[in-house]
Structure formats: structure tokens, C-alpha cells
Symmetry: C2
Subunit: 337 residues, 2 copies
Amino acid sequence: MKSEVILLGHGSGGKLSHEMLDELIVPLLSGLEPRDQNDAAVLPHVAGRLAFTTDSYVVEPLFFPGGNIGDLAIHGTVNDLAMTGAMPLVISVGLIIEEGLPIRSFREILVSMRSAADKAGVKIVTGDTKVVPRGKADKLFINTTGIGVIPEHLEITGSNAQSGDKILINGTIGDHGMAVLASREGLELTSDIITDSAPLNGMVQELVLSLGHHLHVLRDPTRGGVATTLKEISRQSQVEITVHESELPINPAVASACAILGLDPLFVANEGKLLAFVSAEVAEQALMIMQGHMYGGQAAIIGEVTSGANGKVRLHTSVGGVRAIEMLAGEQLPRIC
Amino acid sequence: MKSEVILLGHGSGGKLSHEMLDELIVPLLSGLEPRDQNDAAVLPHVAGRLAFTTDSYVVEPLFFPGGNIGDLAIHGTVNDLAMTGAMPLVISVGLIIEEGLPIRSFREILVSMRSAADKAGVKIVTGDTKVVPRGKADKLFINTTGIGVIPEHLEITGSNAQSGDKILINGTIGDHGMAVLASREGLELTSDIITDSAPLNGMVQELVLSLGHHLHVLRDPTRGGVATTLKEISRQSQVEITVHESELPINPAVASACAILGLDPLFVANEGKLLAFVSAEVAEQALMIMQGHMYGGQAAIIGEVTSGANGKVRLHTSVGGVRAIEMLAGEQLPRIC
């Protein structure tokens, strides 16, 4: 690449576009030979139901403690697939680049994407790149869309929470949102906070294999945090959910930062966490599986599905009170993913 | 929706987000019940190889003669799937919205997307919505990613152009790019120019059924136009391509506008055209299929694959000369898709 920044011409479809694809994007993301580059990828026959999910990433800043928009975009889509019980197979990458983005940053992000994909065992097989003039986007937006294959007989869905289910989380809450916030200009929070962004498909595979149909709901509490995600599930399944604040794992640095800023960590985004609803009889087994996993050391049972088909979420607070959890109206922290 | 414009909170994942999803986006795009809304869609088993493609749309302005960013985004991805010979099945929609976008425009675009998807026979099954602050995007960007199923034994790819193949196009060139340009502020071109944006999967199905393995390459000449697309194919297949300028169908209004602006229509984007490389013995049959189709009335045989394994494209001009076609370095017309 001759230029040090992305130029409008890199999005033209002409020589500069092909140079960027051939020298930078394709070798780093997929390694596909030019001869094999068509507008669509061809995938071998897949035996089983497919999971299909899309997410666009607009996080600001592009780089934050523990990650960047690139690995975040891979983990996010891998996790959305995994939350159906699927094994992620392939991912597409759509890039919208603001003219002027330094090639050096861009390259670093692409390298992170490939590394995250390799670790999660998914292949980046197709993509698209657009460039818009300065001021018409904010540096870089990334869309990732994924396909996974769902094992037979699984029925993991937000509408499958059942009375008596135990609710588990695989670790501390609020790390990602606070890491992004901490890295924004002008905020000087403790440096102990790093994103939890991670691929959860490995852990999900273990849960699926061991628990089978006792695994009822999986969802990753991203935008809106644990509180909003629980509220969504309570509505979808028309059940009542009770959560115990004292059981919620939280990094003390995140707790302090939230206290200082007046934020509720229950509503702060996570990018390497899942909520699992499982039959009570396998809850301890699920906990042990999570705790034995590299992304689940601090896993905990945080609540249960209680009687009442009312779509409510009740939080038993550390000081002995009970409060109803509702979704926030708008933004607590904009652009965290 | 209470607000008349998109607010930052509509991208928060909280109440406003859910309101926008439940009242606007999901009913218009997919009609999925809230109970069935998970982060990933679950698709039934698909028998056959899959085609998988992604595209982001950043066209400016959002509305142009004959279409808008919404139907363009559906047609573009349907067409990229069809260019493998695939029957498009499902599409995901990733929306990045700039705060302040009028809900009225947004609704109109969503309605167009659904209508385009219905006409093309594909379902919008999953999506994602992000909102960024004013000045951080340009009104609306749309990513569409699609899955299709490829009939057995087909091998339609850019590397399959063969010596002796005839090259067909299904109609006039340059309409989309010039329609977008004409609709930009300050340009007063003739109103006879409208986009050719259209779904080509129906025509491709007919070609596939009738021509089978005689159909070697299909590609839609979007960014970079017919010239760039032919150059890509000549390189991928390592063949020489000859095109006859006098055979290229062109709308006279597009030709005049290009002449006035100093643009070469061969490099102007199309969004409802395909180039087909077929065995010489079925060329007339292919032409008749195209001409009998609603999007192929002006189809023509425009060239052939000649001897020489050199990756060159030669244009026989209307005045009797021959010129080599190379890709342009950068942008002829930025942001036409």
C-alpha cells in the first residue's frame, strides 16, 4: 500500500480498491487467492439447522483496554450464534471506512479480527469495503454476519425459560462498557478495567454436550447489560425472574467506577458474558463447567425463574430490599459496541 | 413512535430501542413475533451448497430516481447471490442510523426493503440497529448479508470464462450511476435517467435451468461498471476478452449525460445488470431468455473470450479502433451504492 491513510479511491472498485483488497484486506482476513474471489462465497453443504445473525459495530474509540473494534466484531457475532447452541462456521465482514483512517490502525484491526476468528474456529469467507468522505462516518464501522450449525434436538431460545430454572452468568458484569468509557478522552478511571470481549462458543459447546435439553436459554448481555437482557427474556417467556444482587460477580474497580459516575453496572454492556437458564437439577453441573473454562472462572448462580407469568424481573438487593427492574428509556453509555 | 426523528436512545438497547423495533422495524421488515426474536435467526436445514455474501450501502442521496438505499440494498445482495447461480433464501439487515434521521424517510426505506425482498422471494430474518450521534455517519448506512442455495453440479465463477465464450449483458449500461449523480444537489440532468436497480435472481434461474453447465460466469457490473468487471474476470480466468462498443446497449440520455460530464459509461455503476459468459452454441438461446424477461428487454451479445491467456480486455470502438481497458485508479463517481 503506497498511501499511509485510506483514500476515497480505495472504495471505488477500481485499481486502488483492488490494491487494498489484494495487499491488505484479503491476505489478512481470509487468505483467499485472487482467482477464487467472487462476490459471494460458496460453502459446502451444511447438515443441520442454521443459525444466522448480524451485528454492526460503531464503538468509539476504536481501541480500548483489552481489545478493539475488530476482535469485538468477531466475538460479538460468534457469541450471537453460540447463544442458539450453534457451532459458528463462517463470518462475513462489511467495512465502512472514513477517508483518512490511518492504514496502520486499519491493519492492526484486521490482524485482530483474523486472530479472533482463528481462536473462535470460524472462517472469514466474504466481505465488502466502502469508503466515505471525511466527516461522513466516524473512522470505521464494521458489520459482521455469521452462519452456524445447530445440533439436532436443541431448543435454546429466549422463549424457553421455565419455572424453577436457575440462572447463571459466567463472570463479572459491566467490564466492557466501563473499559470503553474509561478509554474515552477526558475520563481518568482506574486502569484495572479491561474489556471482557471473548468468544463464548467453546464454553457453549461444553454446556450443550453436558446438559442437552436442560439448557433452556442462553443470551449474551451486551447493550443494556444484564438487567435489560433478563427483562427481554422474562417478557419473551412470560415468566418472573428473581436476581440476587449479592450473587452478581463484579470487579471492584468496575463497581467503584460505576459508583463514581452514577451508573448501574446491571445496565452496563458485557461482551464476553452469557446468561444461562438451566433446569435446577443441573445448575451445579453447569456452574462447574463454566468455572472450569478460561472465560468462566468467576461464574455464579445469580437467580432463578420464580412463579408468576408476568414478565417481571425482581432484584433482591444486597441491603435486603426488592426492586423491580425495567429497561432504561435511552442511553446510559452510547456507542459501546 | 412518539418522536419524528431517530434519537440516540433508539440505539441504546433499552426502551426506545425496543419501541422502535416492535413498532417500526420488525413489523415492516420481517413480521416476526416478539416472542420469536432472538439475537440469531434459526433456519431450517438447507439441502445443497450455500452462497453467502455481504454488502454495505452508503449511497448518497438516500433517494434517487427509481429507487432508494433500501431496495438497492436488497437487490444488491440478491444479485450477488444469484451470480453464483444460487436461489436467494434469506437476508440480514444491519442499520447504522445517524441521529436526526426523519422517521418518515426511515419508514419509507424500510417499506421499500420489504417490498423488494417480497418481489425477489427472499425473507428478512434477522437484523441489528445502531444509532450514532449527529455528524458521525451520513443519515443511513445499510448492510445486507444473504444466504442462497446453489443447485448441484453448477460451477459458475469468475475463474470459469473459457475461450470462445460469448458475453451477454441484459440491457443498457450506466443507468444507476447516472441516476444517482443526476439526483445530487446542483446537477440538472435530464429526468429520463432512472436507476436500473432490480432483482436478477428470476432471470438467473431461467438461465441456469436452460443452459446448465454452458453458463460459465455471471457477474453484476456494479462499482467500476462493465469495464472493471470484465477486467476482473479476464484476470481471474486468465483469458483475453474482446468487447464491441457498438453492441453495448445504452440509454441515449445516459450517453449524453456522460458526454457532457466527461464520464465513460463503461465505468459507470449498474445495479440491475449482469454479464453472462456462455458457450458460443447457447449464446442465441441465452439472449432470447434474457430478452423475454422483464429486466432483459434490451439484452445484447457484446463480446467474446478470444485466444490469449493474458488477462487483457480489448474494446473495439465504434469508430473502428481498438483500445485496451484498464481499471481506473480511483473514483469516477463516489458513493453510488
